[in-house]
Symmetry: C2
Subunit: 356 residues, 2 copies
């Protein structure tokens, strides 16, 4: 089955030089993909030519005249730039021309545009952003929310857990991925009210055999790989993710500086280059690029804005895998099963607010 993916070619710090190049590379190694390359036609055309893919049969250009800049306020992205590459790329999913969209654009704008164009899924109060971090088991720890919701109620965290579980189950082929609730301690009495009430909801699901709830986890458990999924509000998730990224850069700078500090250290690094390569492989954040906007009526993946071609290919890979494994239906089914009451409420309320 061919998977069609729309690419917001103009998004990200580097635009088409990364996005188009990554799509071409991905298409070369994956026969079951078709790309809709959205953005300024002439620029994309030139980039395809540079990558010797101007006549590639699985590359189609969709012209869009505007570009959402990385520092554009959400308002501008949503209301002024109606022909932006971001919006047109998301619209391909809405209209059924693509099964997933990938963008490296401004996260807030992408979430707002996606929410407006695709609408929120039945039973979901608030969409969330899920991402991955490497862990000691050499597996990814999925974490959500990474910044879409800075204030959360237990109901929201509960829904994040359900959506995350369906996502990981599909992407990692684990039937019942384990869920940890991020807290300041493992004991039930630890944490604030929101976390304590969320734990009750998740425990009840666990007892009914609907979710695999491990219990509270702490910050260090993310990198230990104690659970497959770590659930938290978007404030904590965003700060933790960025702190981890910052620490990663700090480690890299320190390593590089030390090994270049004198000829002896340089020689040692040369001899042990196999070790250095394997370290950089294990810790490389590029391998974990590709956050998923969960809870929408369509699949949208967010690449890091500064992603290079290699890293962007990983975001495409995640979108491809999610579409292939029908993540959307799985989430929708899980939500229907675990959130039956909310089904009765109108899921359109919050979308209407945004459309005003």
């Amino acid at each position: 089955m061919t998977i069609k993916i729309s690419i917001d070619c103009m998004g990200g710090d580097h635009g088409p030089s990364v996005t188009v190049a990554a799509a071409v590379a991905f298409a070369h190694r994956e026969p079951d993909v078709e790309f809709l390359l959205v953005g300024l036609e002439s620029v994309i055309q030139a980039e395809l030519k540079k990558n010797h893919a101007e006549h590639h049969p699985r590359m189609k250009i969709i012209h869009a005249t505007e570009v959402v800049e990385m520092d554009d306020p959400i308002e501008i992205a949503l209301r002024r730039k109606k022909d932006s590459s971001m919006r047109v790329a998301v619209t391909q999913v809405k209209d059924g021309h693509a099964q997933a969209c990938v963008s490296a654009g401004n996260t807030g704008a992408l979430m707002a545009v996606s929410r407006y164009v695709l609408k929120t899924m039945q039973s979901v109060d608030r969409p969330a952003i899920s991402g991955m971090l490497p862990n000691q088991k050499n597996l990814p720890t999925y974490m959500l929310d990474l910044g879409a919701n800075v204030d959360c109620e237990p109901l929201h965290l509960h829904q994040f857990a359900i959506m995350g579980s369906a996502l990981v189950s599909a992407l990692e082929g684990k039937e019942r991925p384990s869920i940890g609730l991020l807290n300041v301690g493992e004991e039930d009495i630890k944490g604030n009210d929101v976390v304590k009430k969320t734990a009750q909801l998740l425990r009840a699901d666990h007892e009914r055999g609907l979710l695999n709830f491990y219990g509270n986890v702490e910050g260090n458990d993310i990198f230990k790989g104690t659970t497959d999924i770590v659930v938290c509000d978007g404030f904590v998730g965003n700060v933790t993710l960025k702190a981890a990224e910052g620490m990663g850069r700090f480690v890299k700078t320190t390593l590089t500086g030390a090994f270049k500090s004198n000829p002896l250290n340089m020689l040692g690094a040369l001899i042990a280059r196999g070790a250095l390569k394997s370290i950089s492989q294990t810790m490389n954040p590029s391998n974990y690029n590709g956050g998923c906007l969960l809870g929408l009526r369509g699949l949208v993946f967010k690449s890091h804005g500064s992603a290079d071609k290699y890293s962007y290919e990983w975001a495409i890979q995640r979108a491809f895998d999610a579409a292939k494994n029908d993540v959307l239906t799985r989430i929708s089914n899980s939500m229907a099963k675990l959130m039956p009451v909310a089904d009765l409420a109108s899921p359109e309320d919050n979308n209407d607010l945004m459309a005003k």
Copy 2:
């Protein structure tokens, strides 16, 4: 001037074998210190003997019959174990026998006992825990709160900033250390209500020349060293600190594993051992051991529970520096200047609650 420090010798994962040994080592290199070693007399005596310091003139043993275990609930530590080494050590500060106390015991218990014994400082609503993380500028980033308060109002975060500023000013000799407010973005519109309102309070102080408020900072700024101080609530601070610790361990395991994976890598590591040593120096969390319980009427420092002798010495060093630089008076003066209204309220309220 001699600084007297009380040591909760029984606290921490290793007890006297670390705490007494560290105190002896510190006393050897610092002539201006005197130690009150609190705990089981016979055990401390034996440990002093092992360290050839049984007749050291600046080591005094204070017998305490009970021990607060690492997993003791706060209730037990506070109400049942009235003759614990932790409580007796803190009481030395209260009674003026010591200018600071160091403990590697259970954080929750230490905060509760310290709060009960010492009481909260005039104008401070809630004590906080301040700690340090290394940054790319090869300086410490001070961060608070690290877990004493899982729910905070703007007033609390405001007070943390004032206390942190006074602490860092004293310890680092910076007259106006810069303060960053941890948030999900740099822009004023980012974040939740608590953070936005806190920013307003801090900005007002900045405009009056009372505090050096930088603005919002993000998770990665902690390791960049963008500001001297990072203020956040105890939930976010605790999770971020533990995530950083967890990531540090992950990096170390990965490095060690890679360099030991085959003879060639081992040879490279041997040749570049200078580089590896400098990396481990820069990143060594032991150098940053010693959190400060801020906002109490006495100085209490918290060492990591798993601290070894080297690491515990750092916690003692911090307590020594804080006492020597009269951090307590500085914080008290800053609070009186910046929190004049709160002065009128009774600071005893919350202490009474704990004493019930």
